[in-house]
């Protein structure tokens, strides 16, 4: 245990990277999820097809494969395209960006399903009432759809977030200096890999427990007006 304490700064720095990565991926996935849900619910068959293909693709491919494809392949494609069209110079996709894009892309598909279900749970009459009152689509979204959608989406959103935090561990495989990478490096150098990996597991448990508390607070807040048995 002494060695873990000795390397506490390294572990804390890694934890900070992991949390930043998770939050950035979450923001990206919520954005994709909203767009995806809108596309699936739109009357346009083309947008439905595209969103359907997106969720099927993500369900079919493991996240690490997408991450490596983006990190090693995406860089080459971006630069080939850049040199072919002359639109941009050399670009570098670093591990953090590859992680955010691929984790965001994967969880965007799960968020799509979450938000789609949540929007479908809102009675159609309320939206019609909004239109009848002369609300703009944006106002309807802000005043009617969003507050209720959050409430219906929260249980599944919570689940997605907990899986997402754990998925961030994979970014250590492509070399991002996150919690797992730092801990395994430190563990190897002091020849105590078990102690350090165990510390990582405990830190992940703390992260999930903390987010559990926060999400429960959100759940209470968005359910204020709801009678619960």
């Amino acid at each position: 245990m002494d060695s873990v304490w000795e390397y506490r700064n390294l572990l804390l720095a890694g934890t900070a990277v992991t949390v930043q990565l998770a939050l950035a991926s979450l923001a990206f996935s919520v954005l994709l999820g909203l767009v995806g849900a809108a596309a699936k619910l739109a009357a346009n068959p083309v947008s439905q097809k595209i969103a359907g293909a997106y969720t099927t693709l993500v369900r079919g491919v493991p996240d690490l494969v997408l991450m490596m494809l983006l990190f090693y392949g995406g860089q080459q494609i971006a630069n080939d395209l850049g040199s072919m069209t002359g639109w941009w110079d050399y670009v570098e996709i670093n591990q953090f960006i590859a992680g955010v894009w691929s984790i965001g892309f994967v969880f965007g598909a799960y968020m799509t399903e979450t938000f789609r279900g949540a929007i479908l749970a809102i009675p159609r009459g309320q939206i019609e009432a909004g239109i009848a009152c002369g609300m703009t689509p944006f106002l309807i979204f802000r005043r009617i759809t969003w507050p209720q959608m959050v409430r219906h989406a929260l249980p599944s959103f919570t689940n997605n977030w907990l899986v997402l935090i754990k998925a961030t561990a994979l970014v250590s495989v492509i070399g991002l200096h996150d919690l797992v990478w730092n801990a395994s490096t430190a563990g190897r150098s002091v020849r105590e890999p078990f102690t350090f990996m165990f510390a990582v597991l405990i830190i992940y448990l703390i992260l999930t427990a903390c987010s559990d508390v926060g999400l429960r607070w959100l759940d209470r807040r968005y359910n204020v007006g709801v009678d619960r048995a």
Binding site: V61, P62, V65, G73, A169, V173, M197, V200, L201, L205
Partner: protein, 255 residues
Amino acid sequence: MAETDRTFFDYLVYVSENHSPLDFMLVADHIDKFFYGTLLTIEITLLALLIGGVMAIPLAIARAYRHRWWNGPIFGFTYFFRGTPLLVQTYLVYYGLAQFDFVRESFLWGPILSSPWWCALITFSLNTAAYTTEFLRGAIENTAKGEIEAARACGMSPARMMRRIVLPSAFRRALPAYSNEVIFMLHSSVVLSTITLQDILGVGRWLNGRYYLAYEGFITAMLFYMALVFIISRGFRIWEQHWLGHLRARTTVEG
């Protein structure tokens, strides 16, 4: 080489190397490796699901009925395994156990605990057991009260009631969640490639490293995983039709 000597095969290789964005002939040359990788992925995923599934049944029963001694420890086990990344759990077992002298000196070290195959199988089994326990517990707890009362009224012993009434209907209710768990396990099995095993992704990484490529190996791996997921979801759909047929809405009226 004279123009006339060129066979169609040479032409394919030439196009693949020089004009195709993806060197498909190179992938085709090594496709057997991908099939071996698929075998390893399927082997570990299936064995882990089997072992984890068998473990989960008694654990779920103990959790569902709030067993006085076992409920707490089992919850601790599932909380730990569900709250942490599989990658780190696997590292803990594969790289971590070597830290202890008593492990390295035990008779298990040579054949089992120093082998990545066994370490992965142990970790994956425990991991899927934890997830399966929790949703199976939910399914057992949701057994209709009337079914249990009827079983009691028929004079069934608790064990017989479990075998004949509770578990068959709980398995049916858990089936949709289980299909997700199977796909999730297949996705998680990419962790194998991080502990030196040649699973599908492992072969893809090897191919890219060997020929200094950027994406051929990953795209091929991606297609293999998609095919596997497609087969699994199809299989589960058939299984669900078979097992949950009585719940389907009747679409045709037979006269």
